[in-house]
C-alpha cells in the first residue's frame, strides 16, 4: 500500500448521540475526493438522505482540509465546512463555508484530515482533539458564553497553542444567520446553528505532529519559493494601487497598497511598508492592508500589523488599535478582521454624520466586530445589512413590528449613524428576541416568506445584490459578465468563488489580460472590460468552468480561493504570467502522487459534479436549468435604459444568457435542456454509482 505525504491519514468520526468516536483511513476512502469539500460532498451523498433538515440530528457537519493544509504551500490555511444549509430557501440544500485562521493546520498536526460530526448530544458539549486523544467533554459551563470567553476557557485547558472553533449565542439559539469562528477573526458563516442544533459548543484542537512532504524536500523548497515569487497582494492583485518606482502599471482598485510613506501607525514604533518591490519576498506581508483599502488612508494610523491564516504571507486581516472606542463604547481598543468581517457594523448604516470617510466609519467597524465576532452572527456577504436598510427605509420594519417592539429600538440613533445602535440590534438577533431579530436571523429567503414579501421584489432591486435562494450574488454579472453569471447559478448559497474576479481585478491593462486569457482559456474573448461586455463566447464558458473547478479544487486541497489561482503574476519579465499548474505541482510534490494539471482538474470536476448531484437529489428534480440556475431581474435591467452590449452598462441579455448556459453545460458534458449531468458525465467523472442512484430516482436527463 503506497503511503502518501500531505494527508494526515485519518478522518475522525464523532457521534455526539453516543459520545463515541472512531477513525477512518483518509486515503483509502477519500483519495479520489482529495479532502475539504470533496470529502464533505461524499459524506453528504453517502450518508445524509434527501429530506434531512439542517437541524435534524441526522444532518452531518464535515470539517475537512486537504493534503496541502499545514504545509508551507502559500495560502493553505482554510478549512471547508460542508452541511445542509439553514439559510438555503425554499428548501435547505448542501452548501459549504470555510474558515481561515489556524484551525486547518492544527487539525493536520493533530493527525486528522477531517472531523465528521454526527448525531446530537443530549446536553451541551465541546470536543477536545489533542493529537490522538479525542474526548467529548461537558460544555454546559460554556453554553451562553461568547466566542471569545469560550476560546479563553478552552485554551486554559488545552494550552496556548490550541486552536478553538466555537459558536456564540447565535449558533446556540439556532439562529440560521450564525457562524463558527476560530483564531479571533476567522469565521465560517452559516454553519453555527448546525453545531448549535447538535449541542456542540466548540471544537478545541491541539496537534504536536507533522505533515510529511511526500516528494523530495529540496524540490519542495524550490516549488514553494517559486510560488512565492509569483504572489501579488490580497486577491492576487498583481499591480500596485498607486504608481510605484518598480512598476510598469498601477490601478487604484487593487489591494497592493503598501508604499513609501505609508506605515503601520499603531505599531510601536511605527513600521513603514515601503515600496514592496515584487522580487523582495521578505516584504510580501507589507503589500496588503485591508483596513486601509476599505476604510481609507485614515486607517493606517490605527494599523498595528497584518494578520491571517497559517502559512500565508499575505496577511489579509488587519489588526487595528483604536483607543477612543474603549472609553466611548466600553469595548476593547483592539480589533481585527478583513472584508465583510471588518465592515460588518458599517454596512448597516445608510450614512454617517461626518460622511463616508469620517472616523465614525472605523468606530462602527470596531463596534461591529466586537459584537458580531463574539455573538457569532453571520452577515451572508452583507445581505443582512442591505436587507435591514431596505426593510427600514421602505417601512417594512415599522409595518411588521408591533408598536411596543418598534419603540424599543432607538431609530433616531440608527438614522444618525450612531454605532451604539448596534448594541441594541445585534445581541437581540443572537438571542432571537423579538420579531425583528427573529426575522433577520432567518436569512433573506425565510425572512421574505415570514413577512410576505415577494422574492421578485427583492430580485428587482439594483442595490440589494440579492441573487436567489435566500443569498446574494458574489462577483457576478456586475463585473464579470457571463462568466460571473454562470458561476452564481451553480451553488446553493453565494458561490464564494474568486477565481474569476481575482483575475479581472488584478490591475493589468485589458490587452495584457486578454493575452493571458488567450493562453489560459483559449481566446482573448474570454475577458471583457467591465461595462463593455461582448456576446457569449466558448472561451467564457471555459473560464467559468475553470473558475468553479479551481474553487472546488482549492476548497479540497486547502488553498485559498481568495488568493488563487495564480495565473497572473507581478513579474514583467514573465509577461505578467503566473502559472496555471501550481496546484498540480504542489499536490504532486506534497503527496508524492504525481498528477498533472489536467488530471487534477478532472478530480476537481468530480467534486464539482458531485455537488450538482447532491443538489439534484435533494431538490428532487433534474430541472436545474429551469428551477435552480436562476438569475434575478435586476441583472437584465439598466437603470438608465442602456441596451446590453453597449458601453457603460453591465446589463445582461436574456438570449445571450441562455446561450451562455448552453455553452457552459456543453463544456461540462451536461444535458442542455435540464442543465443536469448525464449518466455519461457521471461515469466520466468516476461516479457511475451516483448515476445509478439518480437513475433510480428518475433524476437523469434524457
Amino acid at each position: 500500500m503506497k503511503t502518501y505525504g500531505g494527508w494526515a491519514g485519518k478522518v475522525l468520526r464523532v457521534d455526539l448521540s453516543t459520545g463515541r468516536s472512531r477513525t477512518e483511513e483518509t486515503v483509502d476512502k477519500y483519495k479520489d475526493y482529495l479532502g475539504g469539500t470533496g470529502i464533505g460532498y461524499k459524506v453528504m451523498w453517502d450518508e445524509v438522505p434527501a429530506g434531512t433538515k439542517p437541524h435534524d440530528p441526522g444532518n452531518k457537519i464535515i470539517f475537512a482540509v486537504g493534503p496541502l493544509a499545514g504545509t508551507g504551500a502559500p495560502c493553505n490555511g482554510r478549512i471547508a465546512i460542508t452541511t445542509l444549509w439553514p439559510t438555503c430557501a425554499p428548501k435547505p440544500l448542501v452548501a459549504t463555508g470555510h474558515m481561515g485562521g489556524h484551525f486547518a493546520a492544527e487539525l493536520k498536526y493533530a493527525g486528522y484530515d477531517a472531523i465528521v460530526i454526527e448525531g446530537k448530544a443530549d446536553h451541551p458539549v465541546w470536543l477536545s482533539v489533542a493529537d490522538g486523544k479525542v474526548e467529548v467533554k461537558d460544555g454546559r459551563h460554556l453554553w451562553g458564553e461568547g466566542i471569545r470567553r469560550t476560546t479563553a476557557a478552552i485554551s486554559q485547558i488545552m494550552g496556548p497553542e490550541a486552536v478553538v472553533a466555537a459558536i456564540g449565542p447565535a449558533g446556540e439559539n439556532l439562529v440560521p444567520m450564525s457562524n463558527v469562528m476560530n483564531s479571533i477573526s476567522h469565521s465560517a458563516g452559516g454553519a453555527g446553528s448546525v453545531m448549535g442544533s447538535k449541542n456542540l459548543k466548540a471544537i478545541g484542537v491541539r496537534g504536536t505532529g507533522s505533515v510529511r512532504i511526500g516528494g523530495n524536500k529540496d524540490e519542495w523548497e524550490k516549488l514553494v519559493k517559486y510560488h512565492l515569487s509569483l504572489l501579488g497582494a490580497n486577491n492576487q492583485h498583481v499591480v500596485p494601487n498607486a504608481p510605484q518606482p518598480w512598476a510598469e502599471f498601477w490601478s487604484p482598485g487593487t489591494r497592493w497598497v503598501g508604499s513609501k510613506g505609508r506605515a503601520w501607525g499603531a505599531a510601536a514604533p511605527p513600521i513603514e511598508t515601503g515600496t514592496c518591490e515584487p522580487h523582495n519576498l521578505n516584504r510580501i506581508a507589507y503589500r496588503t492592508n485591508n483596513a486601509a483599502f476599505y476604510l481609507g488612508d485614515a486607517a493606517w494610523q490605527y494599523t498595528v500589523r497584518g494578520n491571517g491564516c497559517t502559512g500565508c504571507p499575505i496577511r489579509c486581516h488587519t489588526m487595528v488599535k483604536m483607543p477612543a472606542v474603549a472609553s466611548k463604547y466600553g469595548i476593547s481598543e483592539m480589533g481585527q478582521n478583513t472584508c465583510m468581517g471588518l465592515l460588518f457594523g458599517w454596512v448597516f448604516f445608510k450614512s454617517f454624520p461626518a460622511g463616508l470617510d469620517g472616523r465614525a466609519n472605523m468606530e462602527t467597524c470596531m463596534v461591529g466586530m466586537h459584537l458580531a465576532d463574539d455573538l457569532g452572527i453571520w452577515c451572508n456577504y452583507g445581505q443582512l445589512q442591505r436587507d435591514f436598510q431596505k426593510l427600514y427605509y421602505e417601512g417594512h420594519i415599522k409595518a411588521k413590528l408591533g408598536e411596543k417592539e418598534f419603540k424599543s429600538y432607538s431609530w433616531d440613533k440608527y438614522e444618525k449613524g450612531d454605532p451604539s445602535f448596534l448594541f441594541e440590534l445585534l445581541p437581540r438577533i443572537a438571542a432571537k428576541e423579538g420579531e425583528l431579530a427573529c426575522a433577520l436571523g432567518l436569512g433573506t429567503g425565510y425572512l421574505l416568506e415570514r413577512w410576505s414579501i415577494s422574492e421578485a421584489e427583492w430580485g428587482k432591486d439594483h442595490d440589494l445584490a440579492y441573487w436567489k435562494m435566500g443569498h446574494p450574488k458574489h462577483h457576478s454579472c456586475e463585473e464579470v459578465g457571463q462568466c460571473g453569471t454562470l458561476i452564481n447559478l451553480m451553488y446553493n448559497r453565494d458561490p464564494q468563488c474568486h477565481s474569476h474576479v481575482n483575475f479581472i481585478r488584478n490591475g493589468l491593462p485589458l490587452q495584457v489580460q486578454k493575452k493571458l486569457a488567450a493562453e489560459i482559456w483559449g481566446a482573448p474573448e474570454a475577458v471583457d472590460a467591465i461595462g463593455a461586455y461582448t456576446p457569449m463566447h466558448p472561451s467564457k464558458a471555459r473560464m467559468a468552468k475553470w473558475s468553479v473547478l479551481r474553487k472546488e479544487l482549492h476548497d479540497s486541497l486547502s488553498l485559498c480561493n481568495w488568493m488563487g489561482p495564480w495565473v497572473a503574476s507581478p513579474l514583467k519579465e514573465r509577461g505578467y504570467r503566473g502559472d496555471d499548474s501550481l496546484e498540480s505541482m504542489l499536490y504532486s510534490v506534497a503527496t508524492g502522487d504525481k498528477l498533472d494539471r489536467q488530471e487534477l482538474d478532472r478530480v476537481a470536476e468530480r467534486i464539482f459534479v458531485l455537488h450538482r448531484a447532491l443538489t439534484i437529489r435533494d431538490m428532487g428534480t433534474k430541472e436545474m436549468r429551469a428551477r435552480h440556475d436562476l438569475i434575478p431581474e435586476w441583472a437584465f435591467e439598466d437603470e438608465s435604459g442602456k441596451a446590453p452590449f453597449t458601453k457603460g452598462t453591465t446589463r445582461m441579455d436574456r438570449k445571450d444568457v441562455e446561450t451562455a448556459k448552453d455553452m457552459f453545460y456543453d463544456e461540462l458534458g451536461w444535458d442542455r435542456a435540464t442543465g443536469a449531468p448525464t449518466a455519461e458525465a457521471y461515469r466520466k467523472a468516476g461516479m457511475g454509482d451516483v448515476a445509478i442512484e439518480l437513475d433510480r430516482r428518475n433524476l437523469l436527463p434524457g
Binding site: 505525504g5 499545514g70 504545509t71 508551507g72 489556524h102 493546520a105 493536520k108 498536526y109 471569545r148 479563553a152 485554551s155 486554559q156 485547558i157 488545552m158 494550552g159 496556548p160 497553542e161 483564531s183 479571533i184 496537534g207 504536536t208 505532529g209 507533522s210 505533515v211 510529511r212 512532504i213 524536500k217 519542495w220 523548497e221 514553494v224 505599531a267 510601536a268 514604533p269 513600521i271 519576498l281 521578505n282 516584504r283 510580501i284 506581508a285 507589507y286 498595528v304 500589523r305 497584518g306 494578520n307 491571517g308 491564516c309 497559517t310 502559512g311 500565508c312 504571507p313 496577511r315 489588526m319 488599535k321 476593547s332 483592539m334 481585527q336
Partner: protein
Amino acid sequence: MGSGCERDRSSSSASGLAGAVGLCSRRQFLKVGGLSVIGMSALGPLLARGAVKPLIIMEQAQGIVIGDPTKCVGCRRCELACTEFNDGKAAPTLARIKVDRNLNFGPKGVFAGQRGQGNWGNGLVVQDLCKQCPHPVPCADACPNDAIVVAPPVKARVVDPDKCTGCKMCLRACPWEMISFDQDSGKATKCNLCGGKPKCVEACPAQSLTYLPWRDLTDKVPVRTAPLAALSPEKSAACQECHKR
C-alpha cells in the same frame, strides 16, 4: 514536554528567578552539577588511561538570528521553512524557531488573556530563538554523550544525530526551552543556523528576522523555565579543571 499553561511565567524577568535563571542560570547549573562531582582525583586515572575528555564547548558561535516582535505577523512560515526544508515535514512543534507558543497570548501564556501579547493581546509576537550560547553551553554541557557539538561553517551548536540517544537531557537544560525532540527519529534537534543561511530569515514575509554576527543575548532575554538537567560526573570533573571551588 508541553509549554504547559499551568506554569505561570509572570515571575520571569531579565534578572531572573534569583539564583536559578538569567545570567546565573548557566553558572548555577554548573554549581548544581559540581555538587555531584566525583573529584579530580577520580577523573585522573581515567584520563591517564587515554579516555576521551568530555567536550566542553568554549568557542563562540559566529552568527545568531534575532527577531523583531513588532514586525512578526504570526504567519509561522519560519516554523514551516525550518522543518519542511530541513526535515521534509511541516512540524511547528519540531521547529527550532518557536513562534506558535507565543502566538496567541505571548510568553506569559494563556492566563495573560487579552492583557498580554500575541493575537489576543497587543499583537506583539515574540519569536523564541536559540541564543547559540557562549560558554557554558547548557544543552551541550548537559548531554551525557557529547552529542551537541560546534559545527562549521558558523560554529552553531548542533545536535549530532549519530551520538544522540534521545535522553532529552538537553531539553531540560535549556533555560529558554529551545531544544526540540523529533518523535519520528527519537532524537533531539536544535537550531544550526542552516549552515549560515538561516531558512527562517529567508522565509519571513515581514522581514522580522535578521541574521547577525553573534552577540551574547543570554542575559537579555527572559528565560522560560528553570533548567532541570544534571551534569554527568565526567563533565562536572572537567568543569572543575577551570572553575576550582
